[in-house]
Assembly symmetry: C2
Homo-oligomer: 236 residues x 2
């Protein structure tokens, strides 16, 4: 499988999807690709607008996207895709629409056959076994928490170390500890802003200048850097 | 109905449940009450420990609690309660255990008959029609998003204005806008840390020195203070 799982689309003050664009370019290769784009995580803006924002960045790096909402048969669109790109937004709506359109299985089968998969934020969440490490507000019932399971671990995108000033609720780390208490067999990868996981040739690498925080039940969380080996996560 | 719905248990640097204790005392009255405590939102610590933390504060103000986990029949414990207190933690586990123990209906009926209800954080969320404005991580499937609907609006506890520094995800306000996009008929009350809503004699008041942010679909969010009238929320 070939996966590029990105924590967040955009760094503060930068244009949309700017920082990961060269990694996306490298991942898709020299030959121009028109990827199938899944815009379902957009709630407060239109799929057309989302498509145009993403297309602008892809065109800049010599590739293109077409959004799935233009196809009458979404499953067939997946089956014919050169590459699949799933954008961020609200994970709950994304999962609901992927379930409603039978895309969980369709995309999983297609990506298992070698089609490149790129996701950011909610699009990285749905590559995991379930949506249970999302940070998003459950604005719709997703009709099932299960996702694609392209990787056997859970990603927490936008991983934050500290609570915002004056916030009296649980920290992100405490929330992940709650997840591990209930789901002790699954590893959680806290991906800080500006980081990506790339899976190619049965090997997993991390890209980014910040470290990634690995949470396993019963052990102290571990910090791993881009120079570390992440392959153990594929066997977890 | 008599409700005291609190945003957060504790202000940073203070003892657990310290800041709202005198409001709790006033709400429960001069005669010593032993309230039924629902500790189900605790995930990483025991119900016994949770009970002892809350009992310590209640004893300080001349009241007491007994946790529901000591009763063999939780519904009967609710039916016999002098007051009901639902603590914070993880909303998803709280909702799941309330569903599993048939408590949503039991508590609603009991509170509709006049039994005082106190909740904080997750305990305020479950007083709303659904859990859909929680900030918590969905560590378990709640087996249904519906909650008690003691009030006809949604509370977002721990309401935060700004994103933490360097966070590239959606702000809280953007998440609530997503909720309103999908659920346009429901008002959302963003409760900042240190604030409470008190419902008595069919009237709703806000307590706290910070303002509360009211979100309705199609209008600019409104800031209301403790001196403002909140009754309109009961009719929404």
């Amino acid at each position: 499988m070939r996966l590029l799982l990105i924590s967040n689309s955009t760094m503060q003050g930068e244009p949309y999807l700017d920082y990961p664009k060269y990694e996306i370019q490298k991942f898709l290769g020299d030959k121009a690709v028109t990827a199938l784009f899944i815009p379902y995580a957009a709630v407060t803006f239109s799929f057309d607008l989302y498509e145009s924002k993403v297309e602008e960045r892809f065109a800049e790096i010599g590739h293109h996207i077409t959004s799935i909402h233009h196809f009458s048969d979404p499953v067939e669109a997946v089956q014919n895709a050169e590459a699949i790109v799933v954008g961020g937004g609200n994970t709950w709506q994304l999962v609901r629409m992927m379930h409603d359109n039978q895309l969980m299985k369709a995309i999983r089968l297609k990506v298992e056959q070698g089609t490149p998969y790129i996701g950011w934020s909610a699009g990285s969440n749905v590559a995991c076994p379930t949506l249970q490490t999302t940070n998003d507000m459950p604005v719709v019932d997703p009709k099932g928490f299960d996702c694609m399971g392209l990787v056997p671990f859970q990603i927490n995108p936008h991983y934050l170390d500290a609570n915002p000033a004056g916030h009296g609720g649980e920290t992100r780390e405490q929330r992940i500890e709650e997840f591990l208490e209930v789901n002790p067999e699954i590893t959680v990868v806290g991906m800080r802003e500006g980081t990506m996981l790339k899976c190619e040739n049965n090997s997993l690498k991390m890209i980014g200048s910040r470290s990634t925080r690995i949470f396993k039940k019963g052990t102290h969380p571990e910090e791993l850097n881009a120079s570390d080996n992440f392959d153990f996560l594929l066997k977890s």
